[in-house]
């Protein structure tokens, strides 16, 4: 088979990639609760199949485009429904961007599922959990391989749904219940922008298929040059306007400032969920979408949209990093770190380097998933303890977890030769070219990253075990008491193989993936305008700040580890109220509470009051007026004239009736006789006429 | 016209006489005894002896009885029974009267016999008689309905009321047998319904409650003796024989059988087949009489209205299906299913009483 045809063939089978997890979800939704093994196996097998199909497509795309820097893109479009004289199509795409992402999602997802079988082993809603996870995997893969903005949006919303469901998986915790709602609504605000962007794109181009390979009916992204010439809003071209609107969606999903608030709260979900959805894949969907729609962003030269994107990313990166410094919850640190890293990616996109953004997305997915799974292992190993102050010294108890976690941490900090170093370096480089101030801020964020990760490492793994000092933490979750480790008492312990194997595998990638950065750029087919100029500065600066961060972390936390869980954080002692400010996340949530949320609630009360008093008031006024008028008529007209006259008439009729009723004596034969007499008279008349 | 009528009068009266003998002998055998065997060889002259005895017996009329009606009742009992024979085709060449409303005529005439029972019962001024009469009237009126409806099925299939046409419609087929209506789903059901109806109509066991000895002495003919009693008996037997004849005509192919045909020889053979079938029906009646116990009054009426009537209506629908489904295998399957469905439903519905399973105390 010729290569193009082969790709086409594969594109026609793209739907299979999300199909397997979808089926797994459908089957599990009908399963009984106790069928744990079957459920877990089904999910993992389905994910494995998806992974195989994704890899097949991935290798096909490598084989084609890599050498001559020309993207080969195979698509498969079909009609969803018809309306008016046109129709609405959906479609699947097969191109490097999609396949790289799909392989990542399927592969990381596969290992996270394996880990989850351990993490969730004794949860009563095990089946439900894997059902949601499968559904998530299906939607995420569908999002990745869709060639249609509407299909992408649908999957986008579905991953949001799964995120909602999984954050609130332990719905009985009020915090989880609040967090799930917050996550959905916050992303929904972004989605409104996204939806408007879609609708506008549809209006301006008449299609939502991104590529059609058809000159008569070009796809949306094939019309960008025309769109760049048409007018949009706010003095932008249509293309840029749409790009801006779409980016608002991405901001919601990828937790960019100021819509980032949901992501840390989302840590209320089970840790594999945090790893898969809120670190590796879903939150990256915004970045992916921007990458997918990138031609729109660059269509109009010199619009402020890209700058906007860059600054949003930059601000998020620094802002979140500062918060991460002052957190005590092991997962929250990672959550803010994720926010910050997402900021890096977005910044890269804004700086004009899709490759850097996407590559960081991939590497980040691996090592952040690793870190989250690692933290999950820690949490399980310490009997559901999440407060870093109550950990410590775990290196002794959980060696495998420690080493893997260390690799992930180094990758995140950007220590060469780990994966994060390469990808972050590229981002900083591209930002350096675009805007020096942004670069400076980003470098500062890199410094903070190294610092807070070091802090975390020392707090968790170094020193001595501080848990179990007060009461045992695991009273909080009564139902986890019959955990397998009952005989361990309060001591931490290493986790089972199905939990550490995934992080071990992922740590391999966290080490090695960075070396493929250049290849990935080629693979995406973006001409890497690799200017060596400034490279040394950037690299040197970043190495320096990383080293500084590590050192500072060691200085503050490593030299003298915490003795007791109640000890004050050394940094807190140093920074004072600034630390509290950071610990309380810059009081953003409180700000939102008093502004937006209060405003919305007031609006609600106001319109409720309007309904109750104004609208109903007018109504009641009308009703009372009518009633009053009717009373007047009743007394004057009815009671006096009509009733009086009517009574008199009735009386006379009744009297007549009384008289006539005497004719009725009730004897049937009498009636009959009269009847016959009448007949006789009729006959008589007939006879004589 | 005269020959057939004479034939009918002589032959069927003879059959009547010897039916009584056969019945007594057969019942005797069923009940492990001999039956009449003193008058002539095998008791062959018993009917004549009975007749003579009844002729010379004293005729007693109760003093307060309504003399005229009391006298009239047995006469009226016999007349319709004999009239019934006028529409039964005995052979291809032997049809007394071919009325174009034959079946209807038969029913019309047979209803008159109920009057005789009532008159006899009422005129006797005896409460047992009156009770018997009332029972008889209720029973006959009830069972007439499903019977007529069962006949309507046949009439619909043939398209004529004439008994001769009905008999002719059943000729042909393999050996002149396969076209008998009893070999159709609806015909079989109709046959069963009609047979049950005919037995009830002529008040034969197990439907003999109008003359149930253990309850009301002898029912409407308690106060009759001598030849009047004989006339009642005669009317009853003749009616049941005539009904058997009509059953044969409508369902069992009438005079049709292997070898029957229009010629003289065929005619004789056809008469042979007719009487064979008639004998079969008579023996069947006797057999049932000897086998089944008497039913209760409420059971009797409930059975007529709740089982036979719906079933006969379903049967009419089945004939309609048969008529319109010209593809025969389909018609077979459809009508059979339909009727079985109704049968099952009705038998489920009718089984309202829970009868405990019988336990045998001494035999095991």
């Amino acid at each position: 088979m010729e290569h193009g045809e082969y790709l086409q063939h594969l594109a026609r089978q793209q739907w299979l990639i999300p199909f397997f997890p979808l089926m797994a979800a459908a089957i599990q939704s009908l399963m009984k609760r106790p069928s744990r093994k079957a459920s877990g196996a089904l999910t993992i097998i389905a994910m494995g199949l998806s992974c195989i199909f994704a890899l097949r497509a991935f290798f096909a795309t490598i084989g084609g485009g890599g050498q001559h820097h020309e993207i080969e893109r195979a698509i498969f479009n079909f009609t969803w429904f018809k309306f008016g004289t046109t129709s609405l199509g959906l479609g699947f795409i097969l191109d490097p961007l999609a396949e790289g992402m799909a392989v990542m999602v399927a592969f990381v997802g596969f290992w996270i599922f394996v880990n989850a079988t351990g993490y969730m082993a004794d949860d009563e809603n095990f089946t439900r959990f894997f059902c949601f996870l499968s559904l998530f995997a299906a939607s995420m893969l569908g999002l990745v391989v869709s060639n249609n903005l509407l299909l992408l949006y649908m999957c986008w919303e579905l991953v949001g749904l799964c995120s909602y469901l999984l954050i609130g998986f332990w719905y009985f915790k009020p915090a989880a219940a609040a967090a799930m709602k917050k996550a959905f609504i916050t992303t929904r605000i972004g989605d409104v922008g996204f939806l408007l962007g879609i609708v506008m794109l549809y209006w301006k181009t008449g299609t939502l298929n991104l590529y059609t390979h058809d000159t008569l009916h070009p796809g949306a992204l094939e019309q960008v040059s025309a769109l760049a010439l048409r007018n949009g809003w706010w003095g932008l071209s249509a293309a840029s306007t749409i790009a801006f609107l779409l980016f608002i969606g991405a901001m919601g999903k990828s937790a960019q400032f100021p819509l980032h608030v949901w992501l840390p709260d989302a840590m209320e979900g089970p840790t594999p969920v945090s790893a898969l959805i809120h670190a590796a894949t879903m939150v990256a969907a915004g970045v992916f979408m921007v990458g997918r729609m990138y031609p729109l962003f660059t269509a109009e030269a010199g619009s402020w949209v890209l700058d906007f994107v860059m600054w949003v990313g930059c601000i998020t990166a620094v802002f979140s990093a500062t918060i991460a410094v002052a957190q005590f919850d092991i997962k929250r640190v990672l959550a803010y770190s994720t926010c910050s890293q997402l900021g890096f990616m977005v910044m890269a996109l804004g700086a004009g380097s899709v490759v850097a953004g996407q590559f960081h997305l991939l590497t980040h997915a691996f090592f952040k998933a690793l870190l989250f799974l690692g933290s999950g292992c820690v949490i399980i190993g310490t009997h559901h303890e999440q407060d870093m102050r109550k950990m410590g010294g775990l290196r002794k108890y959980m060696p495998i977890t420690f080493w893997c976690y260390l690799i992930g941490m180094l990758a995140l900090c950007g220590v060469p030769p780990f994966a994060g170093f390469f990808s972050k370096d590229e981002i900083l480089l591209s930002t350096f070219h675009r805007n020096k101030y942004a670069w400076g801020l980003a470098t500062f964020a890199a410094f903070l990253t190294a610092f807070y990760m070091t802090r975390q490492m020392f707090m968790v793994f170094a020193g001595k075990w501080r848990g179990g000092e007060n009461d045992h933490g695991h009273d909080k979750h009564g139902k986890h008491d019959d955990h397998e480790h009952g005989h361990h008492g309060g001591e931490p312990h290493e986790v089972t193989w199905n939990m550490w194997l995934p992080i071990a595998v992922l740590s391999l990638f966290a080490i090695g993936l960075g070396f493929f950065g250049h290849k990935y750029g080629e693979y995406l087919g973006v001409e890497g305008a690799e200017s060596v100029e400034g490279k040394a500065v950037v690299m040197g600066a970043s190495l320096a700040v990383v080293a500084l961060g590590l050192l500072l972390g060691w200085a503050v936390y490593g030299r003298k580890t915490m003795e007791h869980a109640t000890d004050e954080d050394p940094l807190s002692a140093a920074l004072g109220s600034l630390f509290t400010f950071l610990n309380r996340k810059w009081y953003i949530d409180e700000l939102y509470d008093v502004t937006i949320i209060r405003f919305t609630a007031t609006c609600g009360m106001f319109f409720r009051l309007v309904d109750k008093s104004v609208v109903d008031g007018i109504l009641h006024a009308i009703a009372w007026t009518a009633w009053g008028i009717s009373q007047v008529f009743r007394w004057i007209g009815d009671e006096f004239f009509i009733n009086g006259g009517f009574d008199a008439g009735c009386e006379s009729v009744r009297w007549e009736g009384e008289e006539f009723s005497k004719l009725e004596n009730g004897r049937i034969q009498n009636y009959f006789r009269v009847l016959s007499l009448g007949a006789a008279i009729l006959l008589l008349i007939y006879f004589f006429t | 016209m005269a020959i057939p009528i004479l034939f009918v009068l002589s032959v069927f009266l003879g059959i009547f006489a010897y039916t009584t003998l056969v019945e007594r002998k057969a019942l005797g055998r069923i009940q492990n005894r001999f039956g009449p065997n003193r008058v002539g060889r095998w008791g062959i002259l018993q009917p004549i002896a009975d007749g003579l005895k009844l002729l010379i017996k004293e005729d007693i009329v109760p003093r307060r009885a309504d003399q005229f009606v009391h006298f009239l009742a047995p006469v009226i009992a016999v007349i319709p029974s004999i009239l019934l024979f006028s529409v039964v085709p005995v052979g291809t060449r032997l049809v007394p009267v071919d009325l174009n409303i034959g079946i209807l005529f038969a029913f019309a005439v047979s209803t008159v016999s109920v009057l005789a029972l009532f008159m006899g019962g009422w005129a006797s001024r005896n409460k047992f008689s009156l009770l018997g009469a009332m029972r008889a009237v209720a029973q006959v009126v009830s069972y007439e309905v499903p019977m007529v409806l069962a006949a309507v099925a046949v009439v619909m299939a043939v398209g004529s009321l004439s008994t001769l046409r009905i008999a002719r419609a059943q000729s042909g087929g393999i050996l002149n047998v396969t076209n008998w209506f009893v070999f159709r789903p609806w015909g079989f059901v109709g046959f069963v319904l009609f047979t049950i109806g005919a037995m009830a109509e002529s008040a034969r066991t197990p439907f003999d409650i109008p003359e149930a000895e253990s309850e009301i002495i002898a029912g409407y003919h308690t106060e009759y003796s001598g030849f009047k009693f004989a006339l009642f008996q005669m009317g009853e037997y003749l009616a049941s024989i005539a009904m058997a004849g009509i059953t044969v005509t409508m369902f069992l192919g009438g005079y049709n059988g292997p070898g029957s045909g229009p010629g003289w020889v065929g005619g004789l053979i056809s008469m042979f087949w007719f009487f064979i079938k008639l004998a079969f029906m008579i023996v069947l009646n006797i057999w049932i009489r000897g086998t089944w116990p008497r039913v209760r009054v409420d059971q009797l009426l409930g059975f007529a209205w709740k089982v036979l009537l719906p079933m006969s209506i379903a049967n009419i629908v089945a004939v309609g299906m048969w008529h319109y489904l010209t593809f025969r295998p389909l018609a077979w399957v459809a009508t059979t299913l339909w009727l079985v469905l109704w049968f099952v439903t009705l038998s489920k519905l009718a089984a309202t009483e829970n009868v405990a399973p019988r336990t045998y105390r001494y035999a095991s």
Binding site: R673, S676, L677, A680 | T111, L115
Partner: protein, 168 residues
């Protein structure tokens, strides 16, 4: 044929007269049956065989029997009204009216030319035709009749069983 007509007419008229004149109710019904049979005979004479059979089936077999039942159920088991007054109040008015009507009808029929015609003869309406007409042209009345009969059946049962139902 004329003889048969006159005999049947005599039976009919006598039956009718006895039916309304006799004191014993059962005798009344029996003579009513005679009247019905006479009418059936007339139908046969008029070559309406089917109707004749139906007349016997319905009137003799059903209506008359029903009347006998009614008599039995209203306690006059003997059927004899006894010494009580059998004629209703103002009976003379009814009788008079009937006689006037009879006389007038007689006079009208006498006067009319139509009274002199004889049967036209010719082809009779066959049973098949009647049957077909019944389910084609006359199907609506036919169905209406079916409904009416059902209603009458149910109604009669309900009326007669009223007390039983109430007791339950």
């Amino acid at each position: 044929m004329e003889t048969i007509f006159w005999i049947l007419s005599a039976i009919t008229v006598l039956g009718a007269l006895f039916a309304i004149m006799l004191r014993n109710l059962v005798h009344c019904v029996l003579s009513l049956i005679l009247f019905f049979l006479g009418i059936a005979g007339h139908y046969f004479l008029l070559r309406a065989d089917f109707l004749g059979a139906v007349q016997i089936l319905i009137y003799v077999g059903a209506v008359a029997v029903l009347m006998l039942f009614a008599i039995m159920l209203t306690r006059h088991v003997t059927g004899d009204e006894g010494p009580r007054e059998v004629l209703g109040g103002k009976w003379w008015a009814g009788m008079g009216t009937a006689i006037i009507i009879a006389g007038l009808l007689w006079a009208i029929i006498r006067k009319d030319q139509l009274a002199q015609i004889l049967p036209a003869g010719g082809a009779q309406t066959s049973m098949v035709e009647i049957g077909k007409a019944m389910v084609t042209d006359w199907v609506v009345p036919f169905e209406a009749m079916a409904v009416l009969l059902t209603a009458a059946l149910i109604g009669a049962v309900v009326i007669a069983l009223e007390e039983v139902i109430r007791r339950r």
